[in-house]
Symmetry: C2
Subunit: 234 residues, 2 copies
Amino acid sequence: MRVEIWSDIACPWCYIGKARFEAGLAAFAHRDGVEVVHRSFELDPDAPAPTDIPVLDMLASKYRVSRDEAAAMEARVADAAAGEGLDYRSDRIHGNTFDLHRLLHAGKAHGVQDALLDALYRANFAEARPLGDPAVLQEIATGAGLPAEEAARVLADPAAYAQEVRADEREAAALGATGVPFFVIDRRYGISGGQPADVFRQALERAHADGAIQTLAAPDGEVCGDDGCAVPGV
Amino acid sequence: MRVEIWSDIACPWCYIGKARFEAGLAAFAHRDGVEVVHRSFELDPDAPAPTDIPVLDMLASKYRVSRDEAAAMEARVADAAAGEGLDYRSDRIHGNTFDLHRLLHAGKAHGVQDALLDALYRANFAEARPLGDPAVLQEIATGAGLPAEEAARVLADPAAYAQEVRADEREAAALGATGVPFFVIDRRYGISGGQPADVFRQALERAHADGAIQTLAAPDGEVCGDDGCAVPGV
């Protein structure tokens, strides 16, 4: 089975939802057969980068509320994060995430995508680090196992993995995703939002139970098997 | 869409079926959105390696026919190959393909899997090269774009990518595949055998038309979208 997860590093429910999904996956009996792929989704593609806008200012402006009201909203999300054992700081910075997604695709090519996403979430939500600073991203990426020269190359070249980010975003749109996190199991089942762990476990179990694939062409075609290869006219 | 293709380098219908699938894919309007992944399947895991057994001897022994009768069977498969513009030699050698599958997984990690598979098929069927010779494999792998040091590392270490090969084979068994080539579209539709190109095109069109995924959890959960992030109790 393959689970694709569209998310954005700036998305609190993606951060929390990843932990909930992983708890659901850990409770799934066939977890060893599950491959997880992270896909790119920018919540705010027009966000400036680098930026020094505090998230609380962005939220107050976006929702037309006071800074105190924005802080109260953030406190509720922080409670949800704490429920998953995750640190959550509201003094983090708002910014563009395109370069982070490009890095995550480099991480995928090098087999360290999941570790890099965890590191980026932690840097953003738990440590409020300035993710618009290439030196900070370089340190995070290498710390997660991306070779230093590859991290430097990707950060220096805005075209590196840009097509892969755009392709993920087009695919999300094609699948009807309008928000994140968005989980897709074997391109059959979609789960929107940071649902409870048990919802993920149940979805995995259902997908596993329904796992039989539909055969479109007869299996007696030109095929090789234990008994050898079919030969035309024999 | 994602198409997974289980195949073996020693499998004539996999060689021919790949060309037919690619012709079907080329005729599919949404081909640019199709990702192809090659997966491992050993037709004869117990085959010795390296070996100098001619395929015709192996076939004569396996089917309990004369060498001439085996050659006649091979000639029919060669006709099918020629129909796809593929060279096909019956003086090739039978041997174990586990190391070739390990190389293909290294190719996948380096983004050259498809080119490497084409090169291995060509070396086996069109050129009858001795694929049990590590120096030959090293040359083929680097020619297909695998970094030389990675090819050498994988060929020198029998454990490199061995788990990935075994995982593919377990997955094929779980999906009910008993022979190859075996094509799976988005884990929904299976196509067994080297079917005509038009069968592949039609299957791709059907999968595309049926592409909507089923939503298991309501989309009004804890999600972030264009309008911001849902906040508990707000």
